[in-house]
Symmetry: C2
Amino acid sequence: MKSQQVFFFGDGKADGNREQKETLGGKGANLAEMTNLGVPVPPGFTIAAQLCLRYLENQAIPDDIREEVARNLTRLEEVSGRKLGDAAAPLLLSVRSGAAVSMPGMMETVLNLGLNDRTVLGLARKSGNARFAYDSYRRLIQMYGDVVLGVNLDDFEHLLTAKRLTTGARSDAELDEESLRNLVEEYKSLVLKTTGAPFPMDPQEQLWGAIEAIWRSWTIKKAVDYRRVNRISDQLGTAVNVVTMVFGNMGEDSGTGVAFTRNPSTGERRFYGEFLVNAQGEDVVAGTRTPLPIADMARLLPAAFEELMAIQDRLERHYRDMQDLEFTVENGRLYLLQTRTGKRTAAAAVRIAREMVAEGLIDELVALRRVRPEQLDQLLHPVLDVEAAGTPICRGLPASPGAASGQAVFDADVAESRANAGEAVVLVRAETTPEDFHGMVLARAILTARGGMTSHAAVVARGMGKCAVVGASEMEIDVQHRRFRVGDTAVSEGDWITLDGATGQVYLGNLPTHPSEVVRVVEGTLDREDAPVFRGFDDLLGWADRERRLGVRANADTPHDARIARGFGAEGIGLCRTEHMFFEGDRIHAVREMIVARDEAGRRRALARLLPMQQADFEDIFEVMDGLPVTIRLLDPPLHEFLPHGGEETKLLARTLGMQRAELNRIVEGLRETNPMLGHRGCRLGITFPEITEMQARAIFRAALAASRRGIAVHPEVMIPLIASVEEFRNQRTIVDAVAVETFGANGAVPYMVGTMIELPRAALTAGAIAAEADFFSFGTNDLTQTTLGLSRDDAGRFLPQYIDLGIFPNDPFQVLDQEGVGQLITMGTVAGRAVRSSLKVGICGEHGGEPSSITFCHRTGLDYVSCSPYRVPVARLSAAQAALDD
Amino acid sequence: MKSQQVFFFGDGKADGNREQKETLGGKGANLAEMTNLGVPVPPGFTIAAQLCLRYLENQAIPDDIREEVARNLTRLEEVSGRKLGDAAAPLLLSVRSGAAVSMPGMMETVLNLGLNDRTVLGLARKSGNARFAYDSYRRLIQMYGDVVLGVNLDDFEHLLTAKRLTTGARSDAELDEESLRNLVEEYKSLVLKTTGAPFPMDPQEQLWGAIEAIWRSWTIKKAVDYRRVNRISDQLGTAVNVVTMVFGNMGEDSGTGVAFTRNPSTGERRFYGEFLVNAQGEDVVAGTRTPLPIADMARLLPAAFEELMAIQDRLERHYRDMQDLEFTVENGRLYLLQTRTGKRTAAAAVRIAREMVAEGLIDELVALRRVRPEQLDQLLHPVLDVEAAGTPICRGLPASPGAASGQAVFDADVAESRANAGEAVVLVRAETTPEDFHGMVLARAILTARGGMTSHAAVVARGMGKCAVVGASEMEIDVQHRRFRVGDTAVSEGDWITLDGATGQVYLGNLPTHPSEVVRVVEGTLDREDAPVFRGFDDLLGWADRERRLGVRANADTPHDARIARGFGAEGIGLCRTEHMFFEGDRIHAVREMIVARDEAGRRRALARLLPMQQADFEDIFEVMDGLPVTIRLLDPPLHEFLPHGGEETKLLARTLGMQRAELNRIVEGLRETNPMLGHRGCRLGITFPEITEMQARAIFRAALAASRRGIAVHPEVMIPLIASVEEFRNQRTIVDAVAVETFGANGAVPYMVGTMIELPRAALTAGAIAAEADFFSFGTNDLTQTTLGLSRDDAGRFLPQYIDLGIFPNDPFQVLDQEGVGQLITMGTVAGRAVRSSLKVGICGEHGGEPSSITFCHRTGLDYVSCSPYRVPVARLSAAQAALDD
């Protein structure tokens, strides 16, 4: 038995329904659904998507399909009371593609199909409007010529423009019947000349031509590319919708419009949209006439409006989601041409989800699935007022969202002094290093010419929730003259620029932005009651917390970051990078003194000065995180990163240290590394200089003891970085445990854990041995990605974009976890670690901890928590909940 | 039932035998064996090594042992006819440690035990030599004081020296009886003052004190360190040998000596050794008297000599290996004090193995096990005449063996010009880069201040079989003034220095060396008939080839290297690094032009100039390797490595290219990478610049076609480097296959393979997918080690030595394969790859391919071949055979 391949809808009932998107495409399924609901839809039929693939394979129309289409066409003629090609009452059709997954802009459409030299007369007669009939006819030839026959669309446009010029018409609408009739002839000649064959007069031939063209459109380059980029299967195919034409341009009692059942920008529960009287859909889209607000329709087409209001309400209740509608009124009669789930801003998504729960339309679990985690991020950053923005001067990678304006400055010191003087600055650098940290903290935004999405600038900026655009490679920075140049545009120190971290665009001038409501509430500068978006956000995440199994922590290095993280719902700190503290204030002097010390005694002297500062930092963080765990990573970066590189700074340091400049230079030079990422860093520092580990452990435990005595519940977790073998871990743990005994006494006043980052393949491969000694694992997926793929995140920018374009990598592996490679190591390490120590706590603290698909992976792998930058905590909470719901 | 814990030997039979080394230690087992053979050995007993551990655990002497020792002592007294502590005929004992594994210099010894104020008189009477008796007594107090009582040895020496000075004796031998008697009293006072207790007069107390001291010595720091470094188990313990004293210093009919059954230096089958008349063993060791050649003994102690000749012959036949003997003649009577397998040079090892096979003493399989693979390496390099060498000025890592002298030069250009002028030069650099290649090729040796065993200098030098010492960090190089300084010593350009690549030592001056016989035969400058060492070497490797399953290939980049490799028995080239060809002659100009080209067209123009040069290289290599496979790796290093770094060179290049210097600088600067190891290199170059892959494939296939037409059997294997995902491989393979079709036509005139290096963890983790597309895998263990451990081989020198000292890493993982981590990936990758493609050829081509324990791993893992530098091929052949024999 053959399965059904053509699905009819009309006369109040349809063969298909909304569940059949795979077969009917999204558009066709919803046309069927609306028909079954009794919503007025022009009758028609949908050819199943599977036929598209069959056609592409055979390159011929199967006979059984010809028959099935013919039967449905006959039925359509019966329902509509018109006949295809009939000179008196011609049936006119629209033919459109429609795949299961929306592919915006990929859709092919032919309208007014069925018109020819004879039926145009019938249409003129029946509509009483010859101008309308010829205009419809010339539109058919133009669309058909373009879509089906491959005639250049511009050539049609040339003829149309020429006609306006020779007749003096100011717009197409002013072209009269005769001009249009001439134009039809000119169009037909163009088709004949270009294709060698006349425009087909046979409506059957037109119909099959259009259907075949839509099928073929599945394999045109832009469609294939779109599917590859959006990872849509090539095996879906597109359905074809053949629908009776209705015309909104039949006079003042006709019109057309698009509408949303709720406001797609704010989420407000109010019917929202726009319409035009006496117009066709494409007039709305083309923007040649300014549409009216939907409310005006109540006055202009009251009956149709009343019916539309009832239908939109019914559709929203039926679909239980905000709908995006297209409709046409033909001579006072309303037709719905499309309904689909409406796209919406983050604020609208959150508000709609929350209000639909309140209205009882959906439950909380459904609401949780309605918001894409990434959308939440939009709510946390100021947004550029796009309309005021104008043209950007260049574009980089959108490294950290939000928008910000400031005066361009070219080094961290100037950034600091100007910012301290109350000015808004944007720090512009070729690339940033930890030395720039003090300037980055105070800058409004960061712009770099080099580096990728996980360059230092990008990571630090995201960590601070600060706008950043990186790798804007067109910029030529001239630090000496304190300016940069993009093509002919030069920007000097003090010139205002505005960055859009959501798009990576860079603008001249100080452009207006809107601050984030959510952040204002979290920071305490806005009351919850005055923040409807925040309330939606907060309720949604509350529901998420009830569903998720995965814990969510934050990467936070300062009490301020910790406070923000906690405000966003972090359940602890998963990564506190102690070295970031080393750059604060004048600590860097003690750090440098420690590094260039000639011997252990000298190092110990400098470390003794750092100890109270680190201790104070930790105590403040413990206080903010009262009751929650705080994972503190011991010193990680290569020492060279802390040293000055410029001549002036070296001179100053030499003077401070009472050292010959030559000697200092030799030391600095001696610390330089060919591949610092793979160099003397992480636990390798703590092993060669055990006094550093000692000092840090002492600062942590003294702070813990002090806080604990003040009644604060402290849960320190000391994390040893860059472990490659269990022997390294054992070496460092011995030091840490000894300091704990020294600080807490034998009775262990404060419970603590010692664990490790798993960030080298060898650590994952030998995780069993390491777990025998370690209390917890935290997968450092940034470095684990670098080593597993042999890919420096600082250098990959040179070829990674091309890799993604070529489809060699599906994504930037520093943003989206490489589950096949890096993920395999995480799974191996987790399984092996837990086999040895069932209580092993396992988390991840790389950039991936805030990325939804990576979080889903962590959930499935059975990790205990993810840790991400404070501003990603909401994204992680929602992602974790969605992952749990998907189980 | 208790097992036996004390083992007697004497009177022609022994409780133990040579199989019981674990229990009796090496020394004790051989004493027992010799006793059973009827060889004259002073009687004694051995306390089992297990007792040592029992004692250390309980810190007390077990009662059952006291009893068992007492029983054996009684038996010893019966056999010897003397009694411990007997005033008339005192039994004197030597007490020595002896573990199952030789721990040279770790051995504790107490001689003359049993002497006290009473028995010394008995000894004087019985020997008729009071001076001898008191000398023996003072030696006992000195040794016992040092080993058992912890008195500072220097304090005894001070008293001895003072006695010489006050008596006018020129040597200890001139001290008369009275002086020695006084000295005994002074020694006893020293013991009393230092330890608070008198020197023990009770021989039983002396005996147990000595036994306990030996047991305790198992845990002294230097012994623990030695075992850790040499990976000897702490759970062995040491046996204690209690043996009747015999004295070689009883007069002109007494003597002592050491001898080898064959010459340990050359392997010649002739009894070899030295002896002293009227002396004790320690006199031979101390070097205070010059020993006589063993042949002289025939004249001086003819009876004893005759007996010794018969015994040595019997022992060698019994042990079937060259023996190292210690003997003493006491009043004309010969005693063997020790026999053990003799240490020997590489030349001797090879010759002895070969000749023992010829003599029917051993078979070929035993011969194969008798030579350590590493020893073969010694045979390939010139050897420094150590006696002429004097004191080194500094020391670095022994990166590439051999010895060489030359005038110090400080850059590659000077090296080239001076070498071309016929001078011998040693290239001295802080570290080398590929740019130095032309100088390295022509230098006699290479010396660097930085870098480890796998730094560029080390790898390239080993590849060329050239002597290199790297990481001599005491050197301060002043390139500007063309000199280096070590402490107060300055070496300027043109000064002669000599490097010993076997020890890492650097000497001033032009020191004499001996050339390698084996290399001279391989290079054709010496006839096989005149080369006994070569013949042994060649026979041995012939036997190895019959036993091994693993193939052995060589890493060779030039026809010259390929010829050497084939001469050493390589069965193909496993790694031909095309980039090394880029530095030859003026090719570097075309390479640089290619790199800085503004567009693809410019790159293609430069590549077109390189094509014929590469093609010619490949054709020459194919010719040399006629009939054998040649694996050619496509361009691998980051492009930056090819660019000039100095101002002058940049200026020159800019002029050559007709480019603004500023523009060139921008390009060079833009190519600089933070972590070049993880940067834009390997297949990433071929993917972003497909024209490079095209050119190289074209050069390979055109060369193959041309050679093939000349009747040469060509087996090219194209290897894609640095694959992280199968998509990269597919991309590059597509290009290579297309060029093959273009070159060979559709009928495929020359069969070829396309495979990949597995040198990133991700490649090993996704090996199944890659094997679906690749014909072969070659594990690039250098880079795989770098990425798996997150360890830059260029930078690890700063902490790796400390890591090995601390026992964190058992070895330098760049020399000895990390089987647990990197090896796990190799196993996973091999298994997964073969599961998908059973015919997959799998090899390794990192430095580890020439290291014995790594080769054993490759054999066990089922790899098809190892590839190593040409000079390591013999090592690999023998290692592979030994691994097969161990199966």
